[in-house]
């Protein structure tokens, strides 16, 4: 058992791993061959996305590069060139845009091939898959299923399109470009485009109409070549077969987005109607829109709508200020569609997610060492076979470099994101509780690692050798067991600690504070009752809610009453404690005005059992809002509030959690008094970092005291102005607590969100007074920790509270060489007090492989986890460095990672080619999201508090939360059928159809975007009103309508909410409404108002950086 698993695992894992990929490969095009051909051996894992050829990037080179692709791209290169110009405005980098262009080119080519099969339309995106022409056929089927609309669309439309468009056909572009076809687009760009056009496109300038033409011809053939690269990358996607769906997705958006659509159209035309090509464009233009609509099966309406759409389209740029950004681009691309890097051609998160989802059908078994788990976005079942479930531990790399040098060279962070108390789905067994008796858990004598599957029993079972430090310890007599012929203990499978990756030990008194078994924890509710708190309705809501909430305090046995005791405090400038002892007829209020020197005025009757004191508590909660209804006190204190809770827990000699409901900057005279220091002028300067640091040292000291007592603080903020989250959050963040912020809280609209957060927070399983320690096998060492906790030394992570949603991210560094044979082991042990007052140890074990080839590392990475780590690292760095430096650091590291890959693992290819490791192909897009986040690149309207809030929030996020936080999920709602969710679309305005509605989820926000031309039926189904104008933008919940669509939509919304640790308030965003600005902020693939690059632009930038590193 002990050592068995690891070694054994090694062998199997690889094959296993590779297999899935192979399959994918197979799907792609024939068997693995494609890979080998392209990359040689490694390929299976590494999928290189070669979006653009360097040639394109460097206008000059393009030609050079062109050679490689030249023939095919030849036409494109120029495009890119042309492009570059366009992009400039945004990026100022010629090259990037260029790169973008290339991406587009491929598609066209690909499309071409597929088109023949299908009809053209879908293929556009398939470019990648196009290579796997053979496989493509299958996809088509899928295409049909998903994109049927698109197909029919294209087909039917094609004719239709042409027809209608025909006339416009030639003018098809004009519509976009408005007046002058090609130039029309340029106008938007103003001078730039023209130039571009002038230079490169000049040739094309004229061709615009011909564009279609050029593509088809050039595209297809050359495409094949580049596609090859793509296929490398893309293949995996196709295997999913969903690519089809996936693709289908894109088309619609394109429809909306002139530019993209153009691209498509371009592709489309080429394929299907070589000749009609010219017409094609127009067709697609019109069609695309229909497609989205069509999907729903509302072609007629759509048509109608579209007809109108056209009208608006021209106006598009106008109405949407934001769009102008896009608009211009769009037109540009439109004009020079081909020149631009096709967003569809660059690695698509949606595609990757979907591929993984489809691929993941088998339960994930953890017995195989070094095997990367499915993505966080996939649903899967985990079988614990000796390593911790990915729900508990996710690593950035499942194959660690053997040496520090390798690690340094690759720059890939080695880290694990640990969620020790994660909730498991109902069909997975929670960790077993093991009791080793009075002597406590059996541990290695030297390193104190806990008994686990990595312990090797020797000498007939009398001793065991530690897998971490190799020290040999005696087996205590009561634990002795004979070994079987393989050297495994006979009882191996009867003992969780010998066969599982995660389990719990019952801790003995030695593991308790003061060598005394702990008391059950207590919850203390501290409610601000100053003027603002009362006026906003917060006080009333909290009090009302607590009455029911108190019945849901955490408990381990649902049959039993919770043993958690509760206490209540209200405060403004002074604190009011309440005696709610069961024997009292009425609660008693004890006012403490001496806030300078906080103390708890009562002991008995402050912390009570809910059931016993029910009457008194209810009476209290009824009276609190009344008592303070007429308060005129506006000043508050904060430090003493936490001190009070802390003192109360001290007095009761227990751990616990404080729920602080607070409204304003604590300016009243008291310890921890703050002043308003929000200064927008500092943003972007070297002093900006000070704004993230606490204003006074008081809270850090206080936090330390809290941790020592096991006092976890959760802070609910209801600010109307600056409250200095950076300072107020110090204690929550250091004690394993959470901060919730409800800016401009209004009872009516924010009630649901707040209450759900509160409920969830109160009810969620958690541990108290926890200490987390990560032990590793020789060769690596945990060096850095991220999360909401406190560390008084370098190894022990102290968490006053640890709930099921909190994660601790651990970074590892080499301190010696690792061996491929034994791999690297880590054991995360969390000592905590359960909500019933039991002291326990939860142990998670994780073994990963070690490699001497960098390729192995790149093949076993997890980008989502890397991003989680990077973001945490970066968000912490803003405390000490200017954000600009932090951003640059991130870009540099990513560039280094990718460059290293390119240099060491990728098959030789043109320097101008961007080649990404398959496992990391989304790294650029996600990284861009991190760079654009409000913390690192704030928009003008983002307050300092918001940034501090997000910064703190992120530190405790697990991978799935950080994933959706940075790359929101955007679901089209045109068609909701069956139990499966509609396929998400990429976070870009281009993907939105005016005729549709979309749900966007970030883990914190939930938007329902409604297109201005949304069909009546859709509106009726969702809102019960046929008119766009009648939709109430202030809706916070969907009306309950008796139709399957509404029902399903609400189910989806509920499911989304259930999935996240914080309740997402639904915000209805009507197209062209003011709120759209906010919404657009989350379309992270687009350029944003504060200077964040679009995905395409950023990718180009990355490419440039990589090239620089390589040269």
């Amino acid at each position: 058992m002990q050592n068995g698993p690891p070694p054994g695992s090694q062998a199997p894992p690889r094959p296993a791993v590779s297999q899935p990929y192979n399959q994918g490969a197979v799907n792609l095009s024939g068997p693995p061959q494609p890979y080998p051909q392209q990359y040689g051996a490694p390929p299976p894992m590494q999928q290189v996305t070669n979006q653009m050829t360097g040639m394109q990037i460097s206008t000059g080179p393009p030609t050079a590069a062109g050679p490689g692709y030249a023939p095919p791209h030849s036409s494109q290169p120029p495009t890119s060139a042309a492009y570059s110009i366009a992009p400039h405005p945004a990026y100022t980098q010629g090259p990037p845009p260029a790169s973008m262009a290339p991406s587009q080119p491929p598609p066209p080519r690909d499309p071409a091939p597929p088109q023949p099969y299908y009809g053209g339309p879908p293929p556009p995106q398939h470019p990648a898959s196009s290579a796997s022409a053979a496989p493509l056929p299958p996809p088509p089927s899928s295409h049909q299923s998903f994109p049927p609309t698109s197909y029919p669309g294209p087909q039917a439309p094609l004719p239709a399109g042409p027809q209608a468009p025909l006339p416009p056909g030639p003018q098809a572009q004009p519509p976009y470009a408005q007046g002058p076809p090609p130039p029309g687009s340029q106008p938007h760009y103003a001078p730039a485009p023209p130039h571009a056009h002038g230079s490169y496109p000049a040739a094309r300038g004229p061709p615009p109409p011909s564009q279609p033409g050029p593509y088809p011809p050039a595209g297809p053939p050359p495409t094949s070549a580049p596609p090859g690269h793509y296929q490398g990358t893309m293949p995996p996607q196709p295997p999913a077969g969903q690519p089809a769906t996936y693709h289908s997705g894109p088309p619609p958006p394109r429809a909306q987005m002139p530019p993209s659509s153009m691209a498509q159209t371009n592709h489309l035309p080429p394929g299907p109607q070589g000749p009609p090509g010219p017409l094609g464009p127009p067709g697609p233009l019109q069609q695309p829109p229909p497609q989205p609509g069509m999907q729903g099966g509302y072609p007629p309406q759509q048509n109608g709508a579209f007809g109108q759409v056209r009208g608006p389209q021209p106006g598009y740029p106008g109405p949407y200020p934001g769009q102008q950004n896009y608009g211009p681009q769009a037109p540009a691309p439109a004009a020079q569609a081909q020149k631009r890097l096709d967003p569809d051609a660059i690695p698509s998160p949606i595609q990757v997610i979907e591929d993984d989802r489809v691929k993941t059908t088998e339960p994930f078994t953890t017995g195989v060492r070094g095997q990367a788990p499915p993505l966080v976005t996939s649903n899967f079942h985990v079988k614990d076979q000796g390593n911790a479930s990915p729900r508990f531990v996710r690593c950035t790399a499942y194959n660690m470099p053997c040496t520090a040098d390798m690690a340094k060279q690759s720059q890939v962070p080695l880290a694990a994101v640990i969620k020790p108390l994660a909730t498991l789905p109902p069909d997975e067994t929670p960790p077993y509780l093991v009791d080793h008796g009075e002597a406590g858990p059996i541990r290695c004598n030297r390193c104190k690692a806990y008994m686990c599957p990595y312990m090797q029993f020797i000498e007939g079972g009398r001793r065991f050798q530690c897998g971490f430090c190799s020290c040999v310890s005696d087996v205590p007599p009561h634990y002795f067991q004979h070994l079987d012929h393989t050297g495994k203990r006979v009882d191996c499978y009867d003992r969780p600690e010998l066969s599982l990756g995660s389990y719990e030990f019952l801790a003995t008194v030695d593991y308790c504070k003061n060598n005394k078994l702990p008391q059950p924890p207590a919850f203390i509710f501290l409610i601000d009752v100053s003027y603002n708190a009362v006026k906003s309705g917060m006080v009333n809501i909290v009090c009302q809610e607590l009455k029911t909430l108190l019945d849901h305090l955490p408990r381990e046995n649902p049959e039993m009453d919770s043993v958690v005791r509760v206490g209540f405090v209200t405060y403004n400038k002074v604190l009011h404690f309440y005696n709610v002892k069961a024997s009292l007829a009425q609660p008693q209020m004890l006012v403490v005005s001496d806030v300078a020197d906080m103390f708890v005025p009562l002991l008995d009757g402050f912390l009570v059992n809910v059931k016993e004191s029910r009457m008194v508590i209810d009476s209290l909660l009824d009276q609190i809002p009344e008592m303070f209804a007429d308060t005129r006190e506006t000043e508050t204190v904060f430090g003493p509030v936490i001190q009070a809770g802390l003192e109360a827990l001290k007095a009761a000699d227990c751990a616990g959690k404080l729920f602080v409901f607070h409204t304003s900057l604590p300016i009243a005279e008291a310890p921890g008094k703050l002043k308003n220091r929000e200064d927008k002028k500092l943003i972007g300067t070297d002093k900006e970092k000070s704004l993230f640091q606490p204003q006074v040292g008081f809270y850090s000291t206080l936090a330390k005291d809290c941790v020592a007592q096991g006092c976890c603080v959760d802070l609910f903020l209801f600010p109307n102005q600056y409250v200095d989250v950076a300072t107020l959050g110090v204690v929550p963040v250091s004690t394993g607590g959470s901060v919730y912020k409800y800016t401009y809280f209004q009872a009516q609209s924010d009630r649901e969100r707040f209450l759900n957060d509160l409920r969830r927070n109160v009810e969620k399983p958690m541990g108290f007074d926890a200490v987390l320690r990560v032990r590793t096998s020789t060769g690596i060492r945990a060096t850095d920790f991220f999360g909401s906790f406190f560390m008084s030394n370098t190894t022990d992570v102290e968490l006053a509270g640890l709930d099921c949603d909190k994660t601790v991210t651990v970074e590892f560094r080499h301190d010696d060489k690792l061996s491929e044979e034994t791999g690297a082991l880590m054991q995360c042990a969390v000592l905590y007090t359960s909500c019933s007052g039991q002291r326990r140890l939860r142990v998670h074990n994780m073994a990963v492989n070690c490699c001497s080839q960098l390729a192995d590392l790149y093949r076993n990475c997890e980008t989502d986890t890397i991003i989680n780590f990077f973001s945490k690292y970066a968000f912490r760095s803003v405390l000490t460095s200017p954000t600009k430096t932090v951003r640059e650091g991130l870009v540099n590291q990513c560039a280094a990672i990718l460059a290293c890959y390119r240099k060491n693992c990728a098959s030789p290819s043109s320097a101008g080619q961007l080649i990404l490791p398959e496992c990391m192909k989304l790294l650029p897009v996600y990284l861009n999201c991190v760079l654009k986040s409000d913390v690192l690149l704030p928009a003008a309207d983002v307050s300092l508090d918001d940034r501090a809030y997000l910064r703190q929030l992120l530190s405790g996020m697990d991978v799935s939360e950080s994933h959706v936080f940075f790359y929101p999920r955007l679901l089209p709602l045109m068609k909701l059928e069956g139990d499966s969710l509609p396929l998400a679309v990429r976070d870009s305005e281009e993907r939105l159809s005016k005729g549709g509605a979309y749900l966007l989820e970030t883990g914190l926000h939930l938007f329902l975007w409604v297109g201005a031309n949304a069909q009546q039926e859709l509106l009726l189904n969702i809102f019960g009103t046929p008119s766009f104008g009648q939709i109430d933008p202030n809706l916070t919940s969907l009306p309950v309508l008796d139709n399957p669509f509404s029902k399903r939509l609400r189910e989806i919304v509920d499911a989304f909410r259930a999935q996240r640790s914080r309740y997402m308030k639904l915000i209805v965003v009507k197209q062209e409404d003011k709120a759209e600005l906010i919404f657009r902020h989350f379309l992270v693939e687009d350029k944003n108002a504060s200077g964040g690059a679009s995905y395409v632009d950023f990718l180009c930038h990355m490419h440039k950086e990589i090239r620089q590193l390589l040269s």
């Binding site: 002074v574 009011h576 404690f577 309440y578 002892k581 009292l584 007829a585 009425q586 609660p587 008693q588 209020m589 004890l590 006012v591 403490v592 005005s593 001496d594 020197d597 103390f599 005025p601 009562l602 002991l603 008995d604 009757g605 009476s619 209290l620 009276q623 009344e626 008592m627």
Partner: protein
């Protein structure tokens, strides 16, 4: 003229004044040679049911430095409508309201029988009475329950308009807001931190928004009549009753071997501060109920470690009472703050061990408050004493006065002396030591009279402001020529008490033996001065009747707990001394020399000598030491009682005999404040020690065989007996060496 004793008692009846000398030596030098100083015992509020308060204000001498009140000793010129001040000789016009004055139409204050007269001040608002309860919650549930009941009961005794407040304390101090609906509200303070009145005011939210105008508004006739913490009884009666009912024992855990943490010092400080910032210069009573010593914060008298006992006299002598000085200072500061604002501080200490009265004594002492000491709140001693605090006179007003000040106008000094007592009750008696300032070479004209005027201003419990004026005069006499008449005017009872008070005062600051030596010396000197003897012949010594009892008083005083600390804790000493210096002469005499009555079949009850010879087997003795009422059954009586004779009809007389002292004791118990400890014991009983320690040990184990077996009970003591004492005294008095 009647005899001096008659004169004295008459004066006392009328004016509540007794002088040590009723004829005054006319010069300073002579006065100092009298040994016993010229001094007065004044009972300012002596009950005078026959004295109707006068509904107008006194007429004052117009001289700014005098301001004496018009009195019967003034010379009045009815025609000119002028009166001459008998203190400064200033001639004053009568005020316009006196235009009708004439020999036959005299205002009351000019009638000789109104040498003591009480005016009601008509100006100013009627101030409410304020009672602030400060309640310790660190006590056994039984005690607390009893205390709660007493407090609840007391509410019903308060006038409906009186303001009450409640502060409770244990480890923390809680100031209760009264009249809250639903939730009872209190402000809590740490018991370890003292707060100034200003801080307190802020923390209690008592700063008026109009604080800025407050400065000007000080003259505003309408001070706030109540606030959240002090409200009229009628309004919050129920609320407060409930509040008291819900009072819980201090919930903070007390670990083994520790005392509960009791923040007495801060609690009292907060009480003083609360009144200071809300009702300055208004009559108020802070009634503090404590069940143990302060163990933390300012004013702590002992640590919370049980293994360290509270300071004893022994520790104090060894300078081993580490908290005492600091603590005393704290309470002294409080006392002076309270008295500056006219607030009374009472202490009701009920505990088996000491509670720190020694440190806190200044609070009641300086503010005219009560100090009550008992073993438990659950004793009738406390309960009835407390009830008696609220005793009412026939008019239904409390027999207590607030915010009192006393002024004395005296001829010869011309100065004004003022004292602030804050609290007065009808038996409060002050000892005033006067100084004759007249120089020896400027004799006062023969036949001249010295006049004294006592002006006591106080807030009557009805809320009225009243002024009681007592004017009295005594003859001057030249000590050299008229020593006989001066000696004849000696009031030995008053003198004994006045000397005793001086001694007690000394005892507070000096070592016990020094005080005794001083007292002995004074006695010897007095004997030398006024005794009749031949030098060096003790047997020739004679004392005149007016001095005859004086040495005996001194003998008992020397043995009394006021000067002896042996067998008394510092708290007890403080308590005894406190009572001694505030009670009237009669009571004080009982304290010095307990009264012993004998009951037997031989005749009616009779007072007997406080002597061991009075302890006979067939007697029942009733001893009243003021602090104790003790019934002692002689050996035989005890046996009879044990045999149950009293139950038999044929021995009904025995039952009556047993009952007689009990009835008498009850009577005493009911009139006494604070209520004495009632002890019923018998020959050989352990509590008989109280009796044995008081009687004159004329028979001891040393000399018992010199006396008849049956003549009394021997006392096992080495103390000298009165006889020995007297012998020594005579010897020393006549000794030429002295």
């Amino acid at each position: 003229m009647a005899t001096f004793p008659e004169f004295i008692s008459q004066n006392e009846e009328r004016d509540g004044v007794r002088f040590s000398w009723n004829v005054w030596p006319s010069s300073r030098l002579e006065a100092t040679r009298m040994v016993v100083p010229l001094a007065a015992l004044l009972t300012p509020l002596r009950e005078r049911p026959d004295l109707p308060p006068i509904q107008y204000e006194p007429v004052l001498c117009s001289r700014a430095t005098c301001r004496a009140v018009l009195n019967p000793l003034c010379q009045v010129d009815y025609r000119a409508k002028l009166w001459a001040c008998n203190f400064c000789y200033q001639r004053n016009q009568f005020p316009p309201t006196y235009t009708g004055i004439s020999e036959v139409n005299q205002p009351a204050e000019l009638l000789p029988q109104f040498s003591t007269i009480e005016y009601v001040v008509q100006r100013g608002p009627q101030m409410p009475l304020i009672f602030l309860y400060v309640v310790d919650t660190c006590m056994e549930d039984e005690d607390l329950q009893a205390l709660k009941e007493s407090l609840q009961m007391s509410l019903s005794l308060l006038p409906p308009t009186a303001l009450v407040g409640l502060i409770t304390f244990g480890r923390m101090v809680q100031v209760h807001e009264l009249g809250c609906e639903g939730i009872s509200k209190s402000y809590v303070f740490r018991g370890t931190k003292d707060l100034s009145a200003k801080q307190l005011q802020e923390m209690l939210g008592l700063t008026k928004p109009s604080a800025a105008q407050g400065a000007r508004g000080q003259q505003a006739p309408q001070p706030p009549l109540s606030n959240r913490f002090l409200q009229p009884v009628q309004k919050i009666d129920m609320n407060l009753t409930d509040l008291l009912g819900e009072l819980q024992r201090d919930p903070w855990p007390v670990t083994q071997g520790k005392r509960p943490l009791r923040s007495l010092g801060v609690a009292m400080s907060i009480a003083v501060g609360l009144l200071e910032c809300t009702f300055p210069n208004t009559g108020a009573r802070i009634m503090t109920f404590i069940g143990g010593p302060a163990t933390q914060g300012p004013g702590m008298v002992v640590g919370d470690e049980l293994k360290t006992p509270i300071r004893s006299w022994h520790d104090i002598e060894k300078d081993n009472a580490k908290y005492m000085k600091k603590s005393t200072k704290h309470y002294e500061a409080l006392a002076s703050r309270a008295s500056a604002n006219g607030h009374i501080m009472d202490i009701y200490a009920c505990a088996l061990d000491q509670t720190g009265l020694l440190e806190m004594k200044c609070c009641p002492n300086h503010t005219g408050g009560y100090m009550v000491m008992a073993d438990s709140f659950n004793t009738s001693l406390f309960k009835q004493t407390f009830q008696r605090v609220f005793a009412k006179d026939e008019q239904g007003t409390f027999k207590m006065a607030f915010a009192a000040t006393l002024e004395i106008k005296e001829i010869g000094t011309g100065g004004t002396c003022q004292w602030k007592m804050c609290g007065l009750d009808p038996s409060t008696t002050l000892a005033l030591y006067l100084e004759v300032v007249n120089q020896h070479n400027a004799p006062i004209p023969q036949g001249g009279r010295g006049a004294l005027q006592f002006v006591t201003q106080y807030q009557h419990s009805s809320g009225q402001r009243r002024i009681r004026v007592t004017t009295t005069a005594r003859n001057w006499a030249d000590a050299q020529t008229q020593i006989q008449s001066i000696a004849a005017s000696f009031d030995q009872e008053a003198a004994a008490i006045l000397m005793a008070r001086l001694a007690v005062q000394r005892a507070e600051s000096e070592e016990g033996p020094d005080v005794l030596r001083w007292l002995d010396r004074q006695l010897i000197r007095l004997c030398q001065k006024f005794g009749d003897y031949h030098k060096d012949d003790p047997n020739s010594f004679r004392f005149s009747e007016t001095f005859s009892l004086y040495p005996q008083f001194m003998f008992h005083l020397r043995r009394s707990p006021f000067l002896q600390v042996f067998n008394n804790s510092p708290d007890e000493s403080s308590y005894y001394r406190h009572q001694f210096v505030r009670h009237d002469l009669t009571q004080a005499l009982i304290m010095v020399q307990p009264v012993l009555y004998a009951y037997s079949f031989n005749g009616p009850p009779e007072p007997v000598l406080l002597d061991s010879s009075s302890i006979l087997p067939d007697r029942i003795l009733l001893m009243d030491t003021f602090f104790q009422i003790l019934i002692y059954h002689g050996e035989m009586v005890a046996q009879w009682r044990k045999a149950g004779y009293q139950e038999m009809t044929e021995y009904e007389n025995f039952r009556h005999l047993l009952q007689a002292p009990v009835d008498d004791a009850q009577e005493l118990l009911h009139t006494r404040f604070p209520m004495p400890r009632y002890i019923d014991t018998e020959h050989g009983g352990s509590q008989a020690r109280f009796l044995l320690s008081k009687v004159n040990p004329s028979q001891t184990h040393n000399n018992m065989y010199n006396w008849g077996q049956e003549s009394g009970a021997p006392i096992l003591t080495d103390d000298v007996s009165l006889q020995v004492f007297m012998d020594h005294l005579k010897k020393l008095a006549v000794s030429s060496a002295a």
